[in-house]
Symmetry: D2
Subunit: 339 residues, 4 copies
């Protein structure tokens, strides 16, 4: 069983079916086709607000293109040290923004806390053009450590952003897992809480290659489309990005997939805890961080499980990521295997 | 019938079949999977030389990422005025290269001629750091006007590049159509002719979304991979880029598709010429540029054909692009329809 | 005598005197000193309009920083092929703007003509995000070929910019020579004619190292100051940029210097024409382009004159540039020398 | 007395004299004049090694242009949190390098310690293209907190750089104060210790506006000159940058000025300590960080002294910066004033 990442999963049957249906007819290129034209409507319904949707093939593209419209080349983006944009996207943010600087701060379990954020922003010494002023706050939902912000927590951060006149961006590579965990309306943790734009992740949770920039501030659309094109992220056969996305949200596939992944992670957590593991911190979504006794870790490897050590959380901490296709029955069978 | 572009076509059955086969199992992310690992071998066989292959989702990405490793931020890229990088990719080249400048020149039917190129390069006044020195020549095969460079023509350009110590890049968005037309070995118009890197197009000719950077100078690989990642073009489920590519070249699907498109364009040319059209210039690949009597143009529109006016070639010139899925029988039926 | 460029001249006595006076006392850094604080007022008086002044040390910096606030990274800057920003500033415009593209066009004697400009702009095919849309027009006053736009000509260009909703920028590296030639108010060829910002050159005409960005649209000030700082163009001892500038405009030193240079160029023109030279085109400012009989050219070299061949205007065309310190008496003596 | 910064000082008599001498004759532009041509020789003698010298007008330009040749757009620059490039140069490093990221770390009194540096570099998790790999270490000599690295300390850092195959850059905005304090040969704390390039500061210590990039690895020269030009930092009247620099180093003016500033800071330290102040940390160069009793701070303000609070070191900590022109006699008189 492969718990290395949710990226190891294939795309889901609903996406395959939709792509197959769309594999035999011609259609206009670059997003002027009928399928692509449905995106804004579909996501406006989903978020209960008029939004603009710009799909791209990767989360890095969705994050960095979004930020390019939210900050100036002279500005700063406050984020958590663990943020994907800070740790895993090379120098992408500086590249797309023309130089904007990440201003990383700490917080428990990869989450920014509103009070600490307020202090951090206030503590940035303003020396005018010499220093870099925060212009945007970026949070990840669910976080890189698998935790989830509650609607109240996002709202509190949104309030701090308003107080300091900053933009609020959400990296939602695992947004579905967060919504499934919270069992809330997507609006509650986005625009109603002050979020200006989100990377709405689909790739990890059942798509082949599509994450969508969803703009709650639709005035950003023009710049985003320009930035997308010149960075090579406007697909000529754009309908296949749209096809994936529509299949992903139709009939709540995205939530079904995410709920499954979350549940699989819970099942694995139960199994491991029963065998001596302890949680490094609470498991909210589909990512599990546990301390494992060395013997248990070895047994799991022997049983064919793939997972990563996570030394930044401790020498004996490991990460397990469940996905939409993780076989929960197989997890149950591990009880026997590990005996 | 839609002759607006080859981008309006869907992806082909062989690609669908391969994607379907790869839709049920897990695999490592970011290119370390077994399928992705086959790319270098497969393309080295195809080109009869050790190459490095870096797949991305779009032609703009393939072109601009390639150029970012071929020129400095202070350098120039000589290309034809009609080149896609000059006319259709926004400010992508400057963005990816950190400022490099396009140095466009003319030439019949969107082709650079070696002698004129030599003169153009020699004519660039060298005022040291004040001016922009050519560092790379970029040609398109087949060109934006549907014409194809012969092996001798590419070789002549390659020789000029060597003479001036410049890199040679090929935008091969329609490379397959060129090879099918020339009936030559892919090596004859690439590395044997002095080409350092090519955008090996697949999207227009049967894939869903993949074009491959093929490096004949494999020393460029490291920089290309860095540039790909930070520009958001490294797919997590990388195997699906590889899957498309491998299905595209297996059993010569790419050449079969291209030959079909070329033939369809020929059939359409014959039809139109028989009804009073004249070629604006020779049709080599799958793009047809014809002068149409106004009455004929109207009849074609009435018959449901979609195609673009091409005013830069004349007020009565139109472009028709055939694709891998163009129905040649349907073209034949036009004889009746247009009567 | 050195007619290679006006850059070969030293700085003028008035500037030396002012710098000397300012060489013994302390003052706040980065522009908060009293001298720097006089700039906006002084230039607002000079231009008869409230302006913002941001001095930098070079013309390239003044041009490129200005353009960085006038266009987006996806936009185009229409200019003449001969423009300094196109021919002599490496890839500076793309660097400072984050990728904006120069869209060069032709025009007699390095001048843009309003009608041709209108046609050029209208002729830029708008393919949305694929193409680069003109966002700004940049003209040079006096031009790189020494010619000067009349107030009516600048106004006509300004009107075209308004018609197409474009910004208008003026590279005024030799602005003083233009004003001295036209004997007009500086306002007549700038903001009254539709110019948004100008590089107000001083270095070539008597300063040591300062050109000023003068903003007629003062809303640009914030972005310009950010761009100046991060590009290393904010001087800590900012007062010395201001000192040079104030000495340069005080008592019309700038106009006196420019008038002298223009007059010296005229004197040289008269001399050369009297000996068989012909003007390549009319001499407006301090730059002279003449066709020289080979024998005369040789004699001038023998007499110790330094000047450049200008092959782009013809094999027998040469450029002579007079400066604020060119010795007119010495030109007269050439009559004897050349006999 | 103004202790706000050494930037408040004017330029020194030797520089004025040299500029005055150079204010009456013509000379070739852009560095091909005889004065500019002396720079490499003079600094090669000064550093006892063949070096290449590229003068620019500001320290930010010297730092950022240097780094643009030392790292790739995908790389990281390790520096102290307090480093000027991290705290005071806006987004300059990202701008000039095309995206490179600062990787700030801690260390006492703004100094990097070799052992901690080694651990920091080793601790950067290498996830290939996803993460940012350190490519250069940047240290400041004297540091932003006025402390100075000994030759042994720089050498130890140089050894760590060699171990990890990293470049070593030195921001020498106050290099003179460091050398004056150490009483060492300039080579001992630069190339002999492993430094590849230095910003050799002059502006703060007696020049008007010039800091020099000094390359111990002269192979970097070409890229540096390209980067200088396109960023607008190549002065047309280049000789005046050279004139300042040569006057600054001739007859050890730079060391005389720096020794004076250091001594003035010592005199002020003695005075303040005698009145109840305590050093926040040892004073090495011309910057003094002291804890002041509130009453003393008020008295100093009343006596007309200008200086900055430095809250990052504590609520009662203040910075005093002496300069080449600080009047030591006047400091002595403060004994009376403050009584």
């Amino acid at each position: 069983m492969n718990f290395a990442s949710d990226n190891v999963s294939p795309f889901c049957p609903e996406v395959l079916e939709a792509l197959t249906l769309e594999a035999s007819s011609n259609a206009p290129a670059y997003g002027s086709d009928e399928i692509s034209q449905q995106l804004d409507r579909t996501f406006s319904d989903l978020f209960d607000k008029e939004v603009a949707v710009i799909p791209v093939a990767t989360g890095t593209a969705a994050n960095c293109i979004s930020l390019s419209a939210l900050v100036t080349p002279y500005g700063g983006v406050v984020c958590h040290h663990e943020a994907h944009i800070n740790e895993d996207e090379s120098t992408g943010v500086a590249f797309f923004t023309g130089g904007a600087k990440l201003l990383p701060m700490d917080g428990p379990t990869a989450k920014l806390e509103a009070t600490a954020l307020d202090a951090f922003i206030s503590g940035q010494v303003n020396r005018g053009v010499h220093s870099v002023a925060p212009e945007c706050v970026a949070i990840t939902q669910a976080t890189e450590l698998g935790t989830v912000y509650s609607p109240a927590e996002v709202t509190a951060i949104g309030d701090i952003c308003k107080k300091h006149d900053l933009r609020l961006f959400m990296d939602g590579a695992r947004f579905a897992n967060a919504v499934a965990h919270l069992d809330c309306h997507p609006a509650d943790i986005t625009w109603k809480a002050g979020v200006d734009a989100i990377s709405f992740g689909a790739t990890k949770n059942g798509a082949m290659a599509v994450d969508a920039i969803v703009l709650f501030d639709t005035s950003l659309k023009g710049r985003i489309e320009q930035a997308r094109k010149r960075s090579g992220h406007l697909h000529s056969k754009h309908r296949y990005l749209a096809t994936q996305l529509l299949a992903y949200v139709k009939n709540d596939v995205w939530l079904k997939n995410a709920a499954h992944a979350n549940q699989a992670a819970s099942a694995l957590a139960d199994l491991l805890i029963g065998r001596g593991a302890t949680l490094a911190h609470p498991k909210d979504g589909n990512e599990l961080f546990v301390k494992l006794p060395a013997e248990l870790a070895a047994k799991l490897r022997d049983a064919g499980l793939m997972f990563h050590a996570w030394p930044s959380l401790g020498a004996d901490v490991y990460r397990f990521v469940a996905a939409w296709n993780t076989d929960i029955a197989q997890i149950s069978e591990l009880h026997t295997t590990l005996r």
